[in-house]
């Protein structure tokens, strides 16, 4: 859900249901790292509501697009983390088996 003025698309608050610090804090990071963002922050209006509000203000691009790009960036980072992690585990396993063979 997006709350913002219909004339000025560069500043909006996005209200995400069923999300918490996990996503909001990560996406705040990727948003802050985007040079098009002048301000961003998030808040959880009430602790017993599963809802988080993310505020995005930009230098000129529509806030929605910038948020979408930030989420996209986050996704790419996750994919990279996953593949790097899998490689590291595979590498650890092969080095382990080589070690075990040496002992025998």
């Amino acid at each position: 859900m997006e709350h913002g003025s219909s004339k000025d698309l560069t500043a909006s608050t996005f209200s995400l249901a069923d999300e918490d610090h996990t996503l909001a804090n990560s996406v705040r990071f990727t948003l802050n790292q985007d040079p098009r963002v002048t301000f961003c922050g998030y808040s959880i209006p009430h602790p017993s509501d599963a809802r988080v509000n993310i505020r995005v203000q930009t230098t000129g691009d529509p806030a929605k697009e910038v948020l979408k790009d930030a989420l996209q960036d986050l996704m790419i980072m996750c994919q990279h983390v996953r593949s790097t992690f899998d490689n590291a585990v595979a590498e650890f396993r092969t080095s382990k088996t080589v070690e075990d063979m040496k002992i025998k």
């Binding site: 996990t22 802050n32 790292q33 040079p35 986050l74 980072m77 992690f85 590291a88 585990v89 590498e91």
Partner: protein, 372 residues
């Protein structure tokens, strides 16, 4: 830091941060009173005035991000994650604890319980027993679903302590998997349905779970066989059926797939000046985890060196006392995480981590589709 006029500061080449800012950006400084510079500098334009771009470049992230596995066993692992922001590391940790699903006992149908453990306490204890089964093979059961072979695992427990026998300890190995579903008949149906048809039970399995290829060779059972459930005195009996369903740790901790998942930032111990002779001996003695070593520099001189900074617990013993803070600096590397995952046994730890990352991806995808 001593105050200096801005005009007296040395020129810094454009595109590089001056060393003190670089230190504040990448390290937490742990002084004797409190840690400083604990925040991460996230804003892309934070260093714009010195001509340094702090924005995220994905290619740079992909180049610098590194993972190194330190230890990996059946149910715990430790690995180093370098080059990532704490917000992401923390997201992974939070997801591991609260959002990676597992199977746990949710409903307990008690036919008989004459033990001293009350029904509700018994049910709670059963709920906390980790079950060794891959939760990805099951579906969530929502309120209106009937329990079937895709969303429920049924266990039976029937133990009786003999009269005049010794007391009996009931352990988790008494939980027997019922691959055909519940054996308890649904009562209200019994009069109306004709006697020839199969008696309806609390579950509606269309086939036995043993016939499913996933389970034919590895039967479902509690992860540990020796968890004490209750103790029975002579003549006491427990007869019950336990239904396990899929759930998440944020609903109840029994569904959490990890006993703990945590990280710490890599400690960095730096000697700011040479520490020699008696002073070196004293420093080595100060540290309870032996971070420092002594090195011979010839001519009978000895010097302290930092040998095992990773072991440092940041107890700050080494910077206590007169002037020690000038000799030793304790820091933490802001983007180097020593991540530890202890699985409860449903899935191996490395699988749990990849699942957690996938869940964060799914969250992003969900919001992107919602916005478009």
């Amino acid at each position: 830091m001593p105050r200096v006029s801005a005009l007296d500061l040395p020129d810094v080449p454009k595109g590089h941060l001056p060393p003190h800012l670089e230190l504040q950006r990448t390290r937490v400084l742990c002084a004797s009173d409190a840690p400083t510079h604990t925040e991460t500098i996230q804003y892309s334009g934070a260093y714009a005035s010195v001509g340094v771009d702090n924005s995220l470049r994905l290619d740079q992230f992909c180049r610098d991000f590194r993972v190194e596995v330190i230890r990996l066993t059946e149910d715990d692992m430790e690995f180093d994650m370098v080059g990532i922001d704490p917000s992401l590391a923390n997201a992974f940790r939070r997801i591991l604890i609260a959002e990676v699903p597992t199977m746990a006992i949710e409903k307990v149908l008690i036919a008989n319980n004459t033990s001293v453990v009350q029904d509700e306490v018994l049910a709670h204890r059963l709920g906390l027993i980790p079950i060794k089964v891959d939760p990805r093979l099951f579906e969530y059961m929502s309120e209106n679903d009937t329990p079937n072979e895709k969303n429920t695992i049924v266990f039976k427990l029937h133990v009786k302590c003999k009269i005049k026998g010794p007391r009996l300890t009931v352990k988790s190995d008494e939980l027997k998997w019922l691959s055909n579903g519940s054996e308890l008949p649904l009562e209200m149906e019994s009069h109306t349905s004709d006697p020839a048809s199969k008696q309806k039970t609390y579950t509606a399995f269309t086939c036995s779970q043993v016939s499913l290829p996933e389970f034919s060779n590895n039967p479902i059972a509690p992860k540990h066989q020796d968890i004490i459930i209750a103790k029975l005195g002579p003549g006491q009996e427990i007869e019950l059926e336990a239904h396990a369903v899929k759930g998440m740790g944020k609903t109840h901790a029994k569904w959490s797939p990890v006993s703990t998942a945590w990280y710490r930032m890599l400690p960095e111990v730096v000697l700011l000046q040479e520490v020699e002779d008696e002073m070196a001996e004293e420093l080595v003695k100060k540290c309870p985890v032996n971070v420092f070593d002594i090195e011979d520099v010839g001519k009978g001189k000895k010097r302290a060196t930092v040998a095992r900074s990773r072991a440092c617990t940041l107890c700050r013993e080494c910077i206590r006392g007169e002037d020690w803070e000038k000799r030793v600096a304790l820091r933490r590397v802001k983007d180097h995480f020593i991540f530890t995952i202890e699985s409860t046994g449903a899935l191996p730890p490395e699988v749990l981590f990849t699942e957690a990352v996938k869940i964060l991806e799914d969250k992003c995808e969900r919001v992107i589709t919602e916005l478009s």
